[in-house]
């Protein structure tokens, strides 16, 4: 009976009716999974047609088909990234660094092309081998309902720093 109840509930769900709390739960879950390096579980938050994009610091509107960006992963590339990060020969992240993903000021911007658009400033800290690196900026998410589950269709990571320095790489998932 419990199961039937859930199914009815899922059918009624739509991205339009998502509350900020439901969206925040997803974003906080993502940050927590990343901080604990539960990368396989993290992948399940993304849709099969996902895009994970990080433009450069000097061209925050960078279009990956015309401009140089830092990262433009589809779902397959995200899977390859997880394979790499779990490999002890990924030297920059072996051993894994300690990270803290802070996500705040979550705002729902309405639905565009079937995706609920969300913005949230972020601050990600990375510590390893006496290094302290920070990544600061705004996330822009496109969220979609897949089988009643809210999932990430797109994540654009727009940084506010004018260069990556003092960081030497984006070796973690932001």
């Amino acid at each position: 009976m419990q199961k039937e109840g859930n199914e009815v509930n899922n059918l009624e769900k739509s991205v339009e009716s998502m509350s900020r709390q439901e969206v925040e739960d997803l974003l906080y879950t993502e940050g927590d999974l990343l901080d604990h390096w539960k990368l396989d579980e993290w992948l399940t938050l993304y849709t099969a047609d996902a895009q994970y994009l990080i433009p450069t610091n000097d061209l925050r509107s960078g279009d990956p088909e015309n401009d140089l960006v830092y990262i433009n992963h589809d779902f397959e590339r995200l899977q390859a990234l997880v394979v790499r990060l779990k490999d002890r020969r990924a030297h920059r992240e072996y051993p894994w660094s300690r990270t803290t993903h802070l996500v705040t000021n979550v705002r729902l911007l309405g639905v565009e092309e079937g995706c609920l658009m969300v913005t949230a400033p972020f601050l990600v800290w990375r510590f390893r081998n006496k290094d302290a690196e920070y990544f600061v900026g705004h996330y822009r998410y496109g969220l979609k309902l897949v089988g009643g589950q809210l999932k990430i269709r797109s994540k654009h990571i727009v940084m506010d720093m004018t260069s990556l320095c003092p960081a030497g790489a984006i070796s973690i998932i932001l």
Binding site: D58, L59, P64, N66, L68, Y70, N72, A80, G168, S171
Partner: protein, 235 residues
Amino acid sequence: MEIIRGTHAYAVKANWKLLAENSIDGYHLGPTHETYITFLKNQGVSTTGGLSGGEGKDLGNGHGVLENVAPWGRPIAQWVPVFGEASKPDIERIHDYLLEKFGEERGRRMTELSRNLLVFPNLVMNDIMAITVRTFNPIAPDHMEVTQKELVPKGERPDLKALRLDSYLTFLGPGGFASPDDTEAMEACQQGFQAKEVEWTYMSRGFHHHPPGYTDEHHMRAFWRGWYRRMRAEE
């Protein structure tokens, strides 16, 4: 050719000369970038040959170049499965056109050989799975800042350009599947150099090879000799 918009700007906590070495050294690919080789394999690229058939050259005045056959795809014009079947006929056509236009020898160098070029002291142009243009400046003896761009053919067809840009990102830059491990290697070396009992960097690979192979350090010694000559001139 043109430089496109967007800049990779990052820092490495190591002496700037380590990036001059790293950018043109032909033997670190295996140990440093094993996860990238795994990535290529998982994409259906044959990596059994590894790097091969190349040569390191001293170009005089501290400049050096490494030229070799590499397993990755090249947007000009070496097709690999990851580029997708749809692009295969076009990339093969460009390959054949360049061989016809520039002749067998030069055409094959353009299309099939990868090239890591160091213009003394701190400009690198690597024509590998895409073309990167990199400069790096010391801000302290153990700290440098790197600025990196991408060079592309002007007016390239949009779908081929998109392939090229994607190919760049697989390996290159702070978010690639390879460059972060270069940063790690250079910083680890810099930490190792704190052991002051070791006074020298040893650079003798292929000292007596004629011509020098791609895993020899002939073209890297060219850089160090260029640097040493100028430093002595200052005294």
